[in-house]
């Protein structure tokens, strides 16, 4: 815990606002009013709640305005208590320890974006939209929720961005028709989805026919630890060449290996063709390719190093290179 503690800072709750049914938004500022460090769309902070609980919340303020950070918290009745604690205990002018912003859900550059949000999953999407809009990208948001009242920031997004935002309250228009939205793959379009597990599972199924790498998800509900690999660099031992390379968050294993002069045959570099298949000597891979069959994924003996990475909690892979 001391490691986590070392990376936290005390912030002051400037405002607590009810932004939808069961959703409060917290505006956090530094005690001395100084700006926060820069962060990227998709980032979250850990909120330290009392002695025991650490919870991850996506930042939904603007990365261009570092005077404050905003998060939004849904009160989940059967949760492990973090959200209820926030709803019941946090008051304006309280002090809370938070981590530095970290990004498990970075947005990649492309031409077109499809943002899919379910319920409180809207939070990381808001800064992404702001970025995409400012960069002149082609984008659209489909945002579903139980009812209009339950959909935080829905009306605000609709007022600000107009037709690019489609709100789908279930009690008025039924569930989001993901089949219709994702049925036809689009070239150069990246899909960023955040929401309940059931929705994400459907999105993942439907995106099987999309080019590999098109879909990006953050499983919002209490699984931030499961996506830690994207946020952390890791080391790769190349057992045949006797070298060790560090793979930073913004490079692939393939690139890092090539950088130290070790040759690997590759072709598509997007996890589609299987050419860069590499034997795993030790460590747990997190498979992100579209070609390796399930039994190979489960055994963990092989991986496509153009897209796949070390799994959460695995800081070291050894590869037969």
């Amino acid at each position: 815990m001391s490691v986590l503690r070392a990376r936290t800072r005390e912030v002051v709750v400037d405002r607590v606002e009810r932004v939808a049914e069961d959703v409060v938004s917290l505006v956090l500022v530094n005690p001395d009013g100084s700006p926060f460090p820069a962060w990227e769309p998709g980032s979250h902070v850990d909120l330290h709640l009392g002695e025991e609980h650490v919870r991850q919340y996506s930042l939904c303020s603007s990365p261009t305005d570092l005077s404050h950070l905003r998060i939004a918290v849904l009160n989940v009745p059967d949760s492990r208590g973090g959200s209820r604690w926030v709803h019941e205990n946090i008051r304006p002018r309280d002090t809370v320890p938070i981590s530095e912003p970290r990004n498990n859900f970075p947005i990649k550059d492309s031409r077109k974006y499809l943002f899919l949000a379910g319920g409180i999953g809207i939070t990381p999407i808001i800064p992404m939209i702001e970025w995409a809009h400012a960069a002149g990208k082609e984008w659209q948001l489909v945002y579903g929720g139980r009812s209009r009242d339950s959909m935080a920031f829905g009306d605000r997004l609709r007022d600000e961005y107009g037709d690019r935002v489609r709100l789908v309250p279930e009690d008025e228009s039924g569930r989001m028709d993901l089949q219709a939205i994702l049925g036809l793959p689009r070239a150069h379009m990246l899909v960023y989805a955040c929401g309940p597990t059931g929705m994400l599972r459907t999105v993942e199924d439907l995106c099987m026919g999309w080019p590999p790498g098109a879909l990006h998800t953050e499983k919002f509900a209490a699984t931030a630890l499961g996506t830690a690999s994207a946020a952390e660099p890791f080391d790769v031992d190349l057992v045949r060449s006797g070298k060790t390379v560090r793979v930073p968050t913004d490079r692939t294993i393939l690139e890092a290996v090539e950088d130290v002069g070790v040759r690997v045959l590759s072709s598509c570099r997007h996890g589609l063709c299987g050419t860069c298949e590499t034997t795993v000597v030790s460590g747990d891979p997190e498979h992100r390719d579209a070609v390796l069959p399930q039994q190979d994924r489960d055994s963990g003996d092989m991986m496509m190093i153009c897209v796949s990475r070390a799994a959460a909690g695995c800081r070291r892979l050894a590869l037969d290179l």
Binding site: G183, L184, P185, R186, A187, H188, M208, G209, P211, E258, R263, L265, S266, S267, C268, R269, L272, C273, G274, T275, E277, A290, V291, L292, P293, Q295, D296, M302, M304
Partner: protein
């Protein structure tokens, strides 16, 4: 009516399908690349794309540059095709269904399992050829090896395999214009087509090969019987000629580059890199078409909707902007990764790992047995509308002591 070009594109009279430009394509491809990434070809009324960046763009933008118009110069949606459209000639979501079925059958795991059965035939052939000392790479090796291993992997009957090469010849020549080359390839078209279609039928496939596994997907409800037939057909038509030419072209490069052979001989593990660099330099699949679905801009040129685009992958793979000033050299130390010899994007060759395996095994078998390989005569290029290969590549080999 012949379409006319947009105002901002340079026209050239060059004919990529003339016998002279087929037998020695590179001077023309250099001319086209130097003219700009996109050139209007007067003779055919198509936009030819020669720059790597632009070819890559077309291959990955499957919405703007669709495949359902066919890979030839005529829009197959406008007239009766000579056969039902294949996976290569389809777009999502139709394409998605077939691609998923195919990757379920051909994937890293199933291809890994082929290494063992594919190795002894490569070694036997290499043993025999090294003893002979002088042989024709095409007739004695490149045409023999894939025909010995690949149809077994698909599981088609022995009977009728002689139709595979002529059928592949028809399919790939049809990606070019209706010229004499195409007429010759289609001389006995009905006979070859009928034999191939018969080999793709469920009852004629053995129970263990890729063909039977594709048919299993019909049982799962993932494919219709017609789609299964077409996918088996696609494997057979795409998987033979191209590999034959890939083996031939690789050995042509190596026989003309003693230094490269010495490097490979000293380290046969480099075989897969030697193959990859040959695929870049002498790409077996040189050119095919796409059709625009909407007006757009490519390489600074405005292109209207419903235009045919001739993709010159052979030119892209030698574009100095991508492969540096020595793009025309065979350099097995080069990082050739990302070349477009197998295409790129949604339609990138599904059989690629099998083709790479075959080529690597043949080359490894030779590299461990041959001290030196050198030309024993001029290679004779084949006259073909879309593939780059040779009728004959005579070589001499000196065995390792």
């Amino acid at each position: 009516m012949t379409p006319s070009p947009t105002a901002d594109v340079t026209s050239l009279p060059d004919d990529p399908f003339s016998v002279a430009n087929i037998t020695d394509p590179y001077p023309m491809l250099t001319r086209l690349r130097e003219n700009g990434p996109v050139t209007w070809l007067e003779k055919y009324g198509v936009y030819a794309v020669a720059g790597f960046e632009e070819v890559y763009e077309v291959l990955t933008d499957f919405e703007t540059y669709c495949s359902s118009g066919g890979l030839g110069p005529h829009d197959i949606r406008e007239d009766e095709g000579w056969r039902p459209p294949s996976i290569l000639e389809s777009d999502p979501p139709t394409h998605t269904v077939m691609r998923r079925a195919l990757t379920g059958v051909i994937n890293p795991s199933t291809v890994r399992a082929l290494r063992e059965p594919f190795t002894p035939p490569a070694e036997e052939l290499a043993d025999e050829l090294v003893t002979r000392g002088e042989f024709d790479v095409v007739k004695d090796l490149a045409e023999k090896y894939p025909l010995r291993v690949f149809p077994d992997a698909v599981g088609i009957p022995e009977d009728g395999r002689e139709h595979l090469l002529p059928y592949g010849n028809m399919v790939f020549n049809a990606f070019g214009p209706k010229n004499e080359i195409l007429d010759r390839a289609f001389a006995n078209a009905d006979e070859h087509s009928a034999a191939i279609m018969q080999n793709c039928a469920r009852e004629n496939l053995d129970s263990t090969g890729f063909g039977a596994r594709i048919w299993d997907r019909v049982h799962d409800g993932m494919l219709t019987p017609e789609q299964a037939t077409l996918l088996v057909r696609a494997l057979l038509s795409a998987g033979v000629d191209t590999t034959v030419f890939g083996i031939g072209n690789t050995l042509k490069c190596l026989s003309q580059s003693p230094q490269a052979w010495a490097t490979l001989r000293d380290n046969p593990a480099l075989a897969k890199f030697a193959v990859d660099e040959a695929l870049r330099l002498e790409s077996p699949f040189q050119k095919f078409h796409r059709t625009t679905t909407a007006a757009g801009t490519l390489g600074g040129v405005d292109i209207p909707a419903n235009s045919k685009i001739l993709l010159l992958t052979g030119a892209a793979n030698r574009d100095p902007r991508q492969w540096h000033d020595n793009a025309d050299d065979y350099d097995i130390e080069r990082r050739a990764s990302g070349h477009v010899a197998f295409g790129m994007g949604l339609h990138q060759c599904v059989g690629q790992p099998i083709a790479r395996l075959e080529m690597e095994l043949v080359l490894k078998a030779l590299a461990t047995r041959v001290e030196r390989i050198e030309p024993a005569g001029e290679p004779v290029p084949i006259v073909h509308n879309s593939l780059r290969g040779f009728e004959s590549i005579p070589v001499k080999v000196v065995p390792r002591s």
